[in-house]
């Protein structure tokens, strides 16, 4: 039978009645809040009518009578059962010297300024760390490069499988669709000039020089950089990276190099697939919408598009791959022990690698144009 708890007061005499348990917490809380504070010290307290009591109720009682009173419950209320006194005494002793933690008052303007400062400093630190990490990876590459015994071939092949082979279908599909879209765009714009035949050149130029590598790189940044960060981040949280270090192994050599090298092999291949598939998409639109036959399409490709466009596109792939992999791994190393931190750094690694890829691609486009390549 349940009986809500309450406080019965007659003058200076308090009687605690009923169930003081979690379900009645809110009601009891209200009753306590209505009472003036620090008045109870002089009164006598009768706990014999108290029925059920749990830790929530005990916490409320403690607020009413004070932790010290509970700590001395054996002298104050010896008539209570020993088990109940034990609970109240334990609670009283635990809370007797436990002041509530101090809360620093907020200063809005100051906090905003501090936050901006932290962010700016954070961006600067991030770039410094990235440069430092690139240096470390290159040094490890040089150190192991001439010692084939230390190459992690198994690990690298596994990474090639995950980052390369498994990404092939999605890269092919995506570039195929974008190729078709570019061809449609070209056909629409060039129709006004009566030169729809140049759609072929547009698709070929776009995919050989830019879109093949850019789309593949962005896909890998979303697909693989995040995977690297999450993998290494989980290892960091689980202290696996520390274990690697204390075993006298180098995490960069063991974990980062296979990933970086696998990416540098993967991205050029994916880029090549992307170029082919994009041009195929364009060719299909040309065939269906512009009545340019496949043979004619190929003939125009052969006649108008020199090899150097293909090379310009492909040359960017290893550099993008290196940066994506390095950023993914570095963000993984930066994870600290919380689930939230894994999320933050995974986001950061994808954003950073896509940003770097597009920025570098823009710079490269300018450079190649000025050079006339």
């Amino acid at each position: 039978m349940k009986e809500p708890g309450y406080i019965d007061q007659h003058g200076n005499h308090l009687t605690i009645v009923g169930d003081w348990t979690l379900p009645y917490y809110a009601a009891l809380r209200l009753e306590l809040d209505r009472r003036p504070r620090h008045e109870t010290t002089a009164t006598t307290i009768d706990l014999t009518k108290l029925r059920a009591l749990d830790t929530a109720g005990a916490a409320l009682l403690m607020e009413l009578v004070g932790a010290r009173w509970l700590a001395e419950i054996d002298e104050r209320a010896p008539e209570l059962p020993a088990t109940r006194r034990a609970l109240l005494r334990t609670l009283g002793e635990a809370m007797a010297d436990n002041p509530p933690p101090t809360v620093r008052p907020g200063r809005p303007l100051w906090d905003i300024l501090a936050r901006i400062g932290q962010l700016v400093e954070g961006i600067w630190q991030q770039q410094r760390q990235l440069l430092g990490f690139i240096g470390q990876v290159l040094a490890a590459l040089v150190a192991t490069g001439w010692r084939p015994g230390r190459w992690r071939l198994t690990s690298m092949v596994a990474q090639l499988h995950q980052t390369g082979l498994n990404a092939l279908p999605i890269v092919a599909l995506l570039t195929f669709l974008v190729g078709a879209v570019v061809a449609f765009l070209g056909a629409t714009v060039l129709r006004d000039f009566g030169t729809t035949i140049y759609t072929v050149n547009l698709v070929a130029f776009a995919f050989l020089r830019e879109f093949g590598v850019l789309l593949a790189a962005i896909l890998l940044a979303g697909r693989t950089a995040s995977a690297f960060t999450a993998q290494l981040g989980a290892m960091k949280v689980n202290e696996e990276l520390d274990a690697v270090r204390t075993l006298g192994l180098d995490p960069i050599e063991l974990l980062v190099l296979p990933r970086v090298l696998a990416m540098m092999l993967t991205l050029p291949i994916l880029t090549f697939v992307g170029m082919l598939s994009g041009i195929l998409g364009g060719a299909l639109v040309c065939l269906l919408a512009l009545d340019i036959s496949s043979i004619q399409f190929l003939a125009i490709l052969q006649r108008d598009i020199p090899l150097n466009h293909f090379l310009v596109g492909l040359a960017k792939a290893p550099l993008f791959a290196f940066l994506i992999a390095v950023i993914g791994c570095l963000e993984g190393f930066k994870v600290s022990g919380s689930a939230q931190s894994v999320g933050e750094h995974t986001t950061s690694s994808v954003v950073q690698s896509i940003f770097v890829v597009i920025l570098l691609d823009a710079v490269a486009a300018l450079f190649f144009m000025e050079m006339g390549w």
Binding site: T55, A94, P100, P101, S338, Q340
Partner: protein, 263 residues
């Protein structure tokens, strides 16, 4: 002592297999109201798997698990959630929410289930943390900033948050210093005596077994070999049990327990 009473949790014919690996075959176990049941067994005998099966985190291959008189696996989701609220679970590695402070960790079930306001819940959470032995500034820290022992204490505070009727503890004293472990044992006893808790305690700590357990269940060869009072279990004729209770550590814990009782 509890033979006349209805068990709170009744496990019958439990079967758990992972692929070809058989963990439990036809395992039977009872947990009676108000008792502290110690579950021991060698590494890999499925102590944690048993705990996870009972609290419903793992669906057993076969068998029946009755909790508070109802078949736990057949319950609809709502009723199941009601039952789960009467459980408090302390996981082996704490399993605190890493993106919340300790007091938020403990306050979360209070806000979600007991519908307390945030201020009330956090005040109550600080009391529970203090009860588990964490005072002062620790309440506002994040799990990543704490030692393993402190995480254990905070996890106990969260397990106690809703004042559960059954407490499942998975190796609670592992990683605690001896003083902390002894205080932990005392706290479990105090809580059991005052609140009438039933405790399902998976442990390797012989001192804990001698100090707090009413009954001990030994897991071996895919089932519960014996479940009874400690002295009866220790006298069971089985090689593993003999090595466990009469090895150097077992003897030391036995002596310690008896020297505490006699003066």
């Amino acid at each position: 002592m509890n033979a006349s009473r209805e068990p709170l949790i009744r496990v019958r014919g439990l079967v758990n297999r992972f692929g070809q690996h058989r963990v439990h075959e036809n395992l039977d176990l009872d947990l009676y109201p108000g008792e502290i049941l110690g579950v021991v067994g060698g590494s890999g005998t499925g102590k944690s798997v048993l705990l996870r099966s009972i609290v419903g985190l793992l669906r057993p291959r076969a068998g029946r698990i009755e909790v508070f008189g109802a078949d736990f696996q057949q319950l609809p989701d709502r009723a199941r959630s009601q039952v789960e609220r009467r459980f408090g679970v302390l996981f082996q590695r704490g399993a605190l929410f890493t993106s919340l402070t300790l007091q938020e960790n403990v306050a979360l079930p209070l806000i979600e289930h007991a519908k307390l306001t945030r201020t009330d819940a956090e005040a109550l959470a600080r009391v529970k943390l203090a009860l588990a032995g964490l005072t002062g500034e620790a309440a506002t820290q994040y799990p990543a900033e704490l030692s393993g022992g402190m995480i254990k204490r905070a996890a106990l505070a969260r397990a106690l948050a809703l004042d559960p009727e059954v407490l499942f503890l998975d190796e609670p004293t592992a990683g605690l210093d001896p003083i902390g472990a002894a205080a932990f044992d005392r706290l479990i006893l105090t809580l059991r005596d005052a609140l009438g808790l039933s405790v399902f305690l998976v442990t390797h700590d012989l001192d804990t077994l001698y100090a707090v357990c009413d009954r001990v269940a030994v897991l071996s060869r895919q089932r519960v070999l014996v479940a009874d009072r400690l002295d009866i279990v220790a006298a069971t004729d089985d090689e593993w049990i003999h090595d466990y209770f009469h090895g150097p550590r077992g003897r030391a814990a036995h002596r310690a327990a008896h020297s505490e009782e006699s003066p």
